[in-house]
């Protein structure tokens, strides 16, 4: 008999959100109850708020080598994406009405593009290869004299693939097309230098890097004209109205500062843990696969696929063991459609059912990885033992038979 190891609580869903760092939280506290002024007010309370906001803006700008003026505070990644795309398309709508984006973008980009499509704009969605990489050549070929914007994410939130945005940026610059990248998953994890990257617009979110929720930024390259999404009192040099979320901004600033200081140390550990996790899972569990590119991959992302089991059941069985992850299975979504990212890789719905994303942060430990490596194979074996699918009959299930949306059952 093996000894039952003690139950742990393991959070490996850091692509969804991260724990706020204690130091970040400490720094935010006074701005709720003591220094609660409105940054637009002229009195000392207001000035105090304004000052700390600008200090935070500087810290944040430094992380991506931007100028403080180029940082526009928003409520988070989704707003930044919306503002970037709608703002820039609206500004130039009479001259250029074409957007190029990819099939694996975050919904904040895809739904925004669909919305614009309904309002007469023209969208091209480029595909990806089986590892989830966009081909820059394909973007170049899709550019016409009507193209105003290219929007390609830096790293994919599901499979962690890092796109060749430097190359795409170059192409855009050459063709005089505006380039936006959703860098929500990379800011604070990967060194980013907007001056070197030829990026015109870049979205980021605080809660992905141990900052608070409800705050993000859009980097807008100096000189680039963009329409506001939210109109009002003219905050953020008229680009984004609304009283600034000072405690959030302070926390975001601190989180960026820490990310910059600790990046090397954090990343060393993350890569070590991720490699162990990936290699051991693939070794220990038969019929397991890695989704996304092995090399061009976010350093905290492990995205697996296991044959013959379903992701929602897998997720909740893991949750029973104290392990938090996420899945792209159709059954886990409100639409009952499998993840658009996994479909774009060319996986079948039945393959995408058994997907599991584990994303790490600086708080994860090797003991936690060991714990997952102990529990995960058991959970998978258990679910496989009650699954009708196995090696010998899987070919009896053509995709059409068990595809989503093939008929209305209810």
């Amino acid at each position: 008999m093996y000894e039952e190891i003690e139950k742990m609580k393991v959070y490996m869903d850091n692509a969804a959100t991260t724990r706020v760092d204690d130091e970040v939280f400490e720094e935010m506290k006074p701005y709720f109850t003591e220094k609660y002024g409105n940054a637009s007010s002229l009195h000392s309370f207001g000035q105090e708020a304004h000052e700390i906001m600008e200090i935070s803006r500087e810290k944040i700008a430094k992380l991506i080598n931007a100028e403080p003026k180029e940082i526009i505070f928003t409520s988070g990644g989704s707003e930044s994406d919306n503002m970037a795309i709608k703002g820039i398309m609206w500004k130039n709508k009479d001259k250029r009405d074409h957007i190029i984006t990819s099939k694996i973008e975050h919904p904040a980009v895809l739904r925004t593009c669909e919305f614009l499509e309904k309002h007469g704009f023209d969208i091209t969605y480029v595909g990806v290869d089986k590892n989830g990489l966009v081909n820059p050549k394909e973007i170049e070929d899709a550019i016409t004299d009507k193209t105003n914007l290219v929007s390609i994410m830096h790293a994919n939130n599901e499979i962690g693939t890092i796109q060749p945005i430097e190359e795409i940026g170059k192409i855009c610059k050459e063709k005089k097309v505006i380039f936006h990248t959703d860098a929500v998953q990379t800011v604070g994890k990967v060194p980013i230098d907007v001056k070197r990257l030829d990026v015109d617009l870049l979205s980021a979110s605080s809660h992905k890097l141990h900052g608070p929720k409800g705050v993000g930024f859009l980097y807008v390259r100096k000189g680039l004209q963009i329409d506001a999404l939210i109109h009002g009192g003219g905050h953020e040099s008229g680009k984004r109205s609304g009283t600034e979320n000072i405690p959030g901004i302070v926390g975001f600033g601190k989180a960026c500062e820490m990310a910059m200081d600790e990046m090397e140390k954090r990343n060393k550990k993350l890569i070590m843990l991720r490699e162990k996790l990936i290699n051991c899972v693939l070794e220990k569990i038969p019929k397991s696969y890695l989704n996304g590119d092995k090399e061009k991959r976010l350093l905290n992302n492990a995205h697996f696929r296991f044959d013959y089991i379903e992701g929602e059941a897998l997720l909740l069985r893991l949750d029973m063991e104290g392990i938090a992850g996420s899945t792209g299975s159709a059954c886990s979504t409100k639409s009952l459609k499998p993840s658009h990212v996994l479909m774009a890789l060319g996986l079948s719905p039945v393959q995408s059912h058994g997907s599991l994303r584990l994303t790490l942060s600086k708080y994860n430990t090797e003991a936690e990885v060991d714990y997952v490596l102990e529990k995960l194979p058991k959970v998978i074996m258990d679910l496989r033992s009650i699954s009708p699918l196995n090696d010998t009959n899987i070919d009896d299930f053509p995709d059409e038979d068990i595809n989503h949306g093939a008929g209305e059952y209810e």
Partner: protein, 133 residues
């Protein structure tokens, strides 16, 4: 999002697995999200000479709701006469599980349908055997 009953059955599902020498097998796929359920039954006559479900086992490739409904259908049908089992509906399963989230109701169809198909399979086989004899 799930009721306590659903989680209870999901955590410790009853009668999941396979019957090697089953009298009837019902295989069903779910076109909504792509899940699969196979139901195995063993039939025997009771003292009154009526055919009953002596054993039921289910194999499921699906979500939490699909696993819980698989487990529940075996509880509801075990020991029942075939006539009674045929009358079990998805609503019986759903109610016994203290309800299902709206989006998961389609999973409960699967369990009742797989059971009915298994009974049908048994009855078809019996008919064929009778014709042979």
């Amino acid at each position: 999002m799930y009721s306590e009953k659903v989680m209870e059955h999901f955590k410790n599902p009853h009668n999941l697995g396979e019957i090697k020498d089953a009298d009837g097998i019902g295989k069903i796929g779910n076109p909504t999200c792509g899940d699969i359920m196979w139901c195995y039954i063993k039939v025997r006559k009771n003292e009154k000479g009526k055919e009953i479900l002596k054993d039921i086992k289910v194999k499921t490739f699906g979500c939490v709701a699909a696993i819980a409904t698989s487990s529940m259908i075996t509880d509801l049908a075990m020991g029942r006469t075939l006539e009674e089992a045929k009358k079990l509906t998805k609503d019986n399963v759903k109610d016994a599980l203290q309800g299902l989230p709206k989006i998961k109701v389609h999973c409960s169809n699967l369990a009742a349908d797989a059971l009915h198909k298994a009974i049908e399979d048994y009855e078809n086989k019996k008919k064929k055997d009778n014709q042979k004899n």
